[in-house]
């Protein structure tokens, strides 16, 4: 019985570690460099990234945009998670004021952050086109608004 319990614990622990390592391998603190010859224009995203990083205490910001929508996925220091709603509101307001032409969606969710990082990687590699990007953005925005 003890063995079974230990087995489950070790399994859960290893699962967690494995996932954590994947994330660590990517550089979190530097905005990902976008290729200049890329067709998809991510200048707005980089601008949003820089301005949000400078003004706020955030551990990471990842931004993607298409021609209408801007999706910002930010991560805050763990001890500030108690004020998550307020921070989310403030950041959204900042971004909306700075980019009034775009439909801004901001999320502090870990999942959205992961997905946006993946999307940025795809953009940098050039393995995604405009239509796919828009679809993916729609999917992520819908996901970020899901409650149950």
């Amino acid at each position: 019985m003890k063995k079974l319990l230990t087995g489950i614990l070790v399994f859960a622990f290893l699962m967690g570690c494995q996932d954590g390592n994947n994330e660590e391998t990517q550089d979190l603190n530097e905005p990902m460099q976008m290729a200049n010859n890329n067709k998809l224009n991510q200048a707005v995203s980089e601008q949003a990234d820089r301005s949000l990083r400078n003004k706020n205490n955030l551990t990471d910001v990842q931004v993607v945009n298409d021609d209408k929508q801007l999706l910002i996925a930010a991560q805050i220091p763990h001890n500030e998670r108690f004020h998550m709603k307020k921070i989310e509101k403030d950041l959204t307001k900042q971004a909306e004021e700075k980019f009034p032409d775009y439909q801004v969606t901001l999320s502090l969710d870990k999942k959205i952050h992961l997905e946006v990082m993946q999307l940025k990687k795809q953009i940098a590699e050039g393995s995604i086109d405009q239509k796919k990007l828009s679809n993916e953005l729609d999917r992520l925005i819908k996901l970020s608004k899901e409650k149950t």
Partner: protein
């Protein structure tokens, strides 16, 4: 025992109370609290691992990953109860294993096991929620009251 209750007892009973309280084994409250704290924390840690697993490998956000996590935790607790592991853990940790959601799974399955000999319908089916039923009932009732208060506050424009 409270003083006004003591007055109603006969001298012999009072003497016995005195005798009993001197020899009674003291409950190790602090030790129990520490055990409950750590085992309860460990259960939550496992829950956190499962939640992270769901976030990384499935299409769940931090908000939505809670539901499958709770389901998995209850399921694990049910299996462990069936194998007789959870009882030993509960013996050691007390409230630390009863207060988290896993305690709910334990309450359901232990009642089912206990009444297995009375048949499936009247035994298992009828008694499964004997203990857990009160948990569900108070949860639903509390949710109702909170929702009522919130609705009223919104109607009055306070929120």
């Amino acid at each position: 025992m409270a003083n006004n209750k003591k007055k109603n007892l006969t001298p012999i009973q009072q003497e016995y109370q005195q005798f009993q309280s001197e020899r009674e084994v003291k409950r190790p409250v602090v030790k129990n609290c520490i055990k409950a704290f750590f085992v309860g924390g460990l259960i939550c840690l496992i829950g956190q691992f499962i939640q992270t697993f769901f976030i990384y490998n499935f299409n769940f956000t931090e908000q939505t990953a809670g539901n499958p996590t709770v389901a998995v935790m209850i399921f694990i607790a049910m299996l462990l109860t069936g194998f007789g592991v959870y009882d030993r853990l509960a013996q050691f940790a007390g409230a630390g294993s009863a207060v988290p959601v896993t305690g709910f799974g334990n309450a359901v399955i232990s009642a089912a096991i206990e009444h297995r000999s009375e048949g499936f319908i009247l035994g298992v089916g009828g008694n499964m929620f004997k203990l857990a039923g009160s948990v569900i009932m108070s949860g639903v009732f509390a949710a109702f009251i909170v929702a009522l208060i919130k609705t009223l506050l919104i109607q009055w424009g306070a929120l």
